[in-house]
């Protein structure tokens, strides 16, 4: 897994490349935590290059969403491929997160 971070008009955009599984999920979780733990922060997680996400990755996202809520921060996911969207759907996660179609939409929503 590779994580690429970018700052866009006060919004942190994190591009996730590769696989989020039980091996890589802790690193992914730490990176999410480092951003959303800051009160009122805004984080866009860009999944356009995500190949695979397992239950371990979904758990990390759930934890991050709860932290964001506690800190008054915003967590927005975007650019899910059809394959990844299907996994979100199967796991019952589509309604739990704010999901934007594109990164631009996500940044607009977060701003």
């Amino acid at each position: 897994m590779e994580l690429l971070e970018e700052q866009i008009t006060g919004v942190t955009a994190l591009v996730v490349r590769g696989r989020v599984d039980s091996t890589t999920a802790p690193t992914f979780g730490q990176r999410l935590e480092s951003v959303i733990a800051v009160p009122k922060s805004r984080l866009v997680v860009d999944f356009r290059e995500l190949e695979y996400i397992s239950s371990a990755g979904f758990r990390v996202l759930l934890v991050a969403a709860k932290r964001a809520e506690d800190a008054g921060s915003r967590l927005i996911l975007c650019s899910l491929s059809a394959k990844v969207r299907q996994l979100f759907d199967l796991g019952g996660f589509l309604d739990l997160f704010t999901i934007a179609a594109s990164r631009d939409d996500a940044i607009l929503a977060a701003s």
Partner: protein
């Protein structure tokens, strides 16, 4: 019930309004009239007169009418709008027969080819492994390409005498431009009738620019309104030396029908995944009956029209009701020669673009059918080499002239050589492809890339659907991950994946406790709070992702069985 794709207006079993039906019938008729040139060419080669050519065309109308009805009836034919037309597939062997033995030999050998195609239709189901979807797609794509080449020759006036001038170019641009513009940007009736409006625009522009020859008008005026087709030429002959070319043509015709019907099935159902062999088998039978009938009543070989399917794809009108109206009209036209002549005199600058328009859709439909399956290097060679060898006949005319005489019948056309090559290569490359693949995973060294490669490679070797392989890849990766993380397996995990055309079964076996596959999703709190919650989430997703999943524990050994419908 099949789901209607967004670009289809009327599925095969739907009834369009009368106006739409009427206009579509005219468009389909206009497109098929281009193929009436084949009986004329064959009659000319046999040394026949214009009178004989007229009879061959009139009888062709009669047979097309009967064939269109047979093909469209769901319990008799395929149930789709893919009517027969005098076919280019039969042209070369029929010309050969015409030279050797005149019209009687053409008719006799046409009956032979029809009977052989009928026999093939009964064996199609058993031969299914030899006719995978990518070969049907290849036939459709090659048909689109060769039809497109014919269309371009007509449009550009290659070898025409006199060579077409600037006015013909203007007519072609107006015809094709009207069709494409209305199809892309048109709405409602204009989009539905884009081919007809394009043809009318082309005829109009031809008249304005003085493109009709006086001889054309004289022919039209001299043709009687009502006349019974003549049967003077009705004799049959047989030549054993022509059995091979006509047998090859029968196979190519069967493959082309299979390709056309596969395209119709795909167009008719947004969730199409595999060819319905019952419908294809009936369709091939109807096609064979039509060709046999053509030989019996005295006209040339017929085959399901690819441009007709291309037109249905372009307009979104697949309704078989079109055939129910078209069929009796065609039978009637057999007795109204003036109407046939009107279409027969269609200027090449109109006919060429109309053919090009529908060939474009056929070609892309063929590509889509081929791309619906994962392709490994074996299948890549089957498709790539077959297409290139087939096209070599068109690109390199004369290149095969020095090949032995016995192989020449295969080298008459790209539509014959391409599918024959594909069938041979497919048969060859099927050797050594195992239906069950195995992988051993050491818990201490799980390599996600090799697990993905295992499923991808196996799927490509089998020619499986991408979406099914994607689902199986997730199930395999997630199950290995959760077993290794939480079941403390003793020793390696044994993975086995088995495939046939209808199902994919993946089996993960290990020594250790079984994996829980709950029917209820754990709550978000459970997932966040503990590893057990996360494990239950994995089990829940695995249960939902496969069509069937089962966890079995026996004598300390656990097995997870995933089943995916294919």
């Amino acid at each position: 019930m099949p789901k209607k794709p967004p670009n289809i207006l009327y599925r095969a079993d739907e009834t369009p309004p009368h106006t739409v039906t009427g206009l579509t019938v005219v468009q389909q008729f206009g497109l098929m009239s281009i193929n009436l040139i084949y009986p004329v060419l064959i009659g000319r080669e046999a040394g026949g007169t214009a009178h004989l050519a007229g009879d061959l065309v009139s009888l062709a109308f009669l047979v097309i009418g009967v064939g269109a009805l047979l093909q469209a009836l769901p319990r008799v034919g395929s149930g789709f709008l893919c009517q027969p037309v005098p076919s280019a597939v039969y042209l070369i062997p029929s010309l050969l027969a015409a030279r050797r033995g005149g019209v009687p030999l053409v008719l006799g050998m046409t009956v032979c080819a029809g009977v052989l195609e009928m026999s093939l239709s009964r064996a199609l189901r058993r031969l299914r492994p030899l006719f995978p979807p990518e070969i049907a797609g290849l036939v459709v794509a090659l048909t689109g390409l060769t039809t497109g080449a014919v269309a371009l020759r007509m449009t550009l006036g290659v070898n025409a005498s006199p060579a077409p001038g600037a006015s013909a170019a203007v007519v072609s641009v107006v015809t094709l431009g009207t069709m494409v513009t209305l199809n892309v940007w048109g709405r409602g009736m204009l989009r539905l009738t884009c081919v007809l409006v394009g043809m009318i625009a082309g005829y109009g522009m031809t008249a304005v620019l003085g493109g009709f020859r006086p001889a054309d008008w004289e022919t039209l005026v001299a043709t009687p309104w009502v006349k019974l087709p003549g049967f003077d030429h009705l004799h049959w002959a047989f030549d054993a030396g022509l059995v091979i070319p006509f047998a090859i043509v029968a196979v190519a015709a069967a493959l082309k029908v299979a390709g056309n019907i596969t395209t119709c099935q795909k167009l008719d159902d947004a969730d199409w995944v595999r060819a319905d062999m019952t419908s294809i088998s009936r369709g091939v039978l109807a096609d064979g009956v039509t060709t046999t009938l053509a030989g019996v009543v005295g006209t040339t070989g017929m085959n399901s029209s690819s441009p007709a399917v291309g037109l249905a794809s372009a307009t979104g009108i697949l309704s078989r009701r079109i055939a129910y109206v078209l069929a009796p009209l065609l039978v009637l036209f057999a007795f109204l020669p003036k109407l046939g002549v009107l279409f027969f005199l269609m200027p090449p600058a109109v006919a060429g673009p109309a053919l090009l328009f529908s060939a474009t859709f056929m070609f892309v439909n063929g590509l889509e059918i081929m791309a619906s399956r994962l392709l490994d290097s074996r299948r890549t060679f089957v498709i790539g080499l077959s297409i290139m060898c087939g096209l070599a006949i068109d690109f390199l005319p004369g290149a095969f002239a020095r090949f032995p005489a016995w192989v020449q019948p295969v080298l008459v056309s790209s539509i014959v050589l391409g599918p024959v090559m594909a069938l041979l290569l497919n048969g060859l490359f099927r050797l050594g492809v195992r239906k069950t693949q195995r992988l051993v995973v050491e818990p201490a060294a799980v390599d996600s890339a090799s697990i993905d490669a295992f499923m991808e490679g196996s799927g490509a070797g089998w020619g499986a659907r991408r979406d099914v392989i994607d689902r199986a890849s997730f199930s395999l990766a997630q199950s290995i991950e959760v077993v290794v993380d939480s079941c403390e397996p003793q020793g390696p995990l044994d993975i086995e994946a088995s495939f046939d055309e209808f199902s994919l079964d993946v089996r993960v076996a290990y020594t250790g406790p079984p994996l829980e596959l709950p029917e209820q999703r754990p709550s978000n709190e459970e997932i966040i709070a503990s590893d057990a919650g996360q494990r239950r989430l994995a089990g829940f997703m695995l249960r939902r992702h496969a069509d069937r999943v089962q966890a079995v524990h026996r004598a300390g050994r656990s097995t997870i069985l995933f089943h995916f419908d294919h």
